[in-house]
Symmetry: C4
Subunit: 120 residues, 4 copies
């Protein structure tokens, strides 16, 4: 089945500011082409402290899930902080495809970027 | 022959708004380096409902086709809705190369992103 | 030696307009880590006509060359037209790494995108 | 262990100008999922002169490091010049994942791009 069970994003950053009516944010976009629901665990890595785990999401069979990283809460009630460089590891119970995008509206108008994740 | 017959894009989104004289849109850009015409089937995946199929395009031998996703109509007359997160699977009868790009003019000026598709 | 001798870019487009003091353009950025000069041939593919060849560039050993696609001229004096969707195949005599970027200043301010090329 | 010890970025460029309160810059974002600290050597390649080496960074075990390329100084006190096309090779003592991003605020508002590095 097309896809991988582990993906990495090295450039994570949630801008602190927004302008206009769209909030600066990032999303991990998952596509699950398998016949089984995917249980997805995200681990957040920082420059100067231990990783943060316990972020769990689901993605149904033959479904996509565009996971908003600025809204994600882990099982200890923690969120990814804004204004801090981070990186992500995404582990899934079934093979999926992962793409990461950022919308940055911090300085007038908006900017976007995207990349496929790295899967080894 | 360079290329693959199956490609995936996980972050699909057609912005609802546009400013200026360029409409917000996405394109799946296909290059066919083979000596045969490619018949391309697109399947659209959503977060909360069954996939939409029946979108068919052609790409001639030694030709490119920049398929506008905001103009695509399937054999049941359906289109990809604006303002809804989706993902794409692209299947081709011959090996091709697929790249996906978005132009977002929803908030003054314009933003672009692009990535090669994922091909396993 | 790290790199490949054939690369593909599927989304090529030179915007027709520019604003401010930076012209809308694209570049194919090559890095040659080998001890030999690279002779690079670019072939341009279109939606509705035969490919255009005869674009030749050099990239020295241990050098980069950021090839401006809006300034490229082939051996018949032809250029890549603006405002027309196209795709690129890049062939090199030695293994190189290829990345493709666009700057679009067509609608106030500027937008950028980039992706590594596809190398099979 | 997921990752590679050699990565390449072909499109490096530090814009000369900035607007607003965010400076135009680039970053090489590294994630180290191994149990050992990564010693990272960057080599900078140019179009018309010999490569510049001696740029050394660290990335701790289970840590990320978003290396600001506009602030990097090598062991001879040299920096990557602004306004000059360049390319990068990144060598690490342990397998890591590398992503490269640019923020360009040279012409009103801001533009972003990103791509995973190339790892062979």
């Amino acid at each position: 089945m097309i896809g991988k069970t582990t993906w990495v994003i090295a450039d994570g950053y949630l801008p602190t500011n927004s302008t206009g009516n769209q909030v600066s944010h990032e999303a991990v976009c998952v596509l699950n082409l398998t016949p089984d629901e995917a249980v997805i665990q995200l681990t957040v890595y920082f420059e100067d402290r231990d990783p943060l785990a316990g972020f769990t999401c689901l993605c149904g069979a033959q479904r996509t899930n565009h996971i908003r990283l600025d809204r994600l809460v882990n099982d200890a009630g923690e969120q990814i902080p804004r204004g801090v460089p981070y990186a992500l590891k995404i582990d899934s119970t079934v093979p999926v495809i992962v793409q990461h995008s950022r919308m940055d509206t911090s300085q007038e108008a908006l900017a976007l970027f995207t990349t496929m994740g790295y899967s080894g």
